[in-house]
Symmetry: C2
Subunit: 218 residues, 2 copies
């Protein structure tokens, strides 16, 4: 028989078990955050663990001179493994987190998160799964930079974009100017524009004002 909880409330954190979701929701504060807001910067200490319900958050690595490179993107319902670990161990953040699409979040006090970890082995498994997935994503981004040409990196960037937007309206339109795509990849705008034009001539995409229409990345 279903409990009242299950029949009444729609799932908001469906990457958690219903029981864990209930724990997060009952101990957390609900927040709505606008596009462009910086949630986390290098050096910040976190007394909260954030769970994304809706929207998009981009995680960047930032150089000493302030240049940024996209590391991975959180999209829809999920959490950030590195922030979970840093928060639990009371370490400073080593990444920048920026809201890319208006986001809804649950903010859970880290003391409560640690209590869950100590009392429920499912939480440990959950954290290790998310850490493994996102560590590998960051290694894949490393591969892009260490091994590949800008064209290969742009192709992978667009494939990721499509994969993260499955089911959304306009899933194949990247609403970013060339300069922002260049920033995400820490490449020059000129080089990115040149390669995008080449990809347009091959029929892989269509360039619009402030946007790129993806034609062949499905």
């Amino acid at each position: 028989m279903k409990t009242n909880m299950e029949t009444r409330k729609p799932r908001v954190l469906n990457f958690l078990s219903p029981e864990m979701e209930q724990q997060v929701v009952s101990f957390s504060e609900h927040m709505s955050v606008d596009k462009g807001v910086v949630l986390l910067e290098p050096g910040d200490r976190m007394d909260q663990v954030l769970f994304l319900v809706k929207g998009k958050v981009a995680l960047y690595r930032t150089s000493a001179t302030g240049r940024r490179h996209l590391m991975y993107t959180l999209n829809g319902a999920c959490g950030c493994g590195l922030s979970m670990i840093s928060a639990m161990l009371n370490r400073e953040s080593v990444i920048t987190a920026v809201v890319e699409e208006p986001a809804e979040l649950f903010s859970l006090p880290v003391s409560q998160f640690s209590k869950f970890m100590q009392s429920n082995p499912d939480w440990t498994t959950f954290v290790l799964n998310i850490v493994e997935k996102q560590w590998i994503e960051s290694l894949e981004m490393f591969d892009q930079v260490a091994f590949n040409s800008l064209e290969v990196r742009l192709t992978s960037y667009f494939q990721n974009y499509i994969a993260h937007n499955v089911g959304l309206e306009n899933a194949s339109t990247v609403n970013k100017p060339h300069s922002q795509i260049a920033n995400d990849l820490n490449a020059s705008r000129e080089a990115v524009s040149r390669v995008l034009k080449k990809m347009e001539q091959k029929g892989q995409l269509q360039l619009r004002h402030g946007a790129v229409e993806l034609l062949m990345f499905h």
Copy 2:
């Protein structure tokens, strides 16, 4: 009062608590592995978690075409966070691990490792600490590749080398030919040789046959 265990045996895995060290040693097989042996390749499944007692193991990321880039180095007594997680979650390895200096290892069955995790919260904390440290090391390597010139990357490479060899004899001699240093950084041998020569002229190092003597990286 000290137990017999503590008074009799020298510590071999001093990054673990004495109690955890005893658990690893009693359930593990002891192995000696020669320089050059590949411990782990992408796609491998691990039924053992390896703890390094002595020697050096380099972890590489490998491209589809077989090119390698150093990710981080395990030196002296330590473990590899990514392999621990992959083994526990029964995932394939995503890295290549190569013995760089003759290594002594303890090999612990992953089933036993998982049991420790479930029964002792110290193990969870230990794993999260090691994962956080090494994830950040891999992000720092990412920074090197994404943001820096080859000279800056070589400087950082040598600084890391020194930091990992503190207290050893010949700690400031890198016994590698230019071609191997170039491989570690996925750069061309020609470019590496050119920058090394420039650094020699500045008095930062001295080039020897098949080796680099570091003069100013302490």
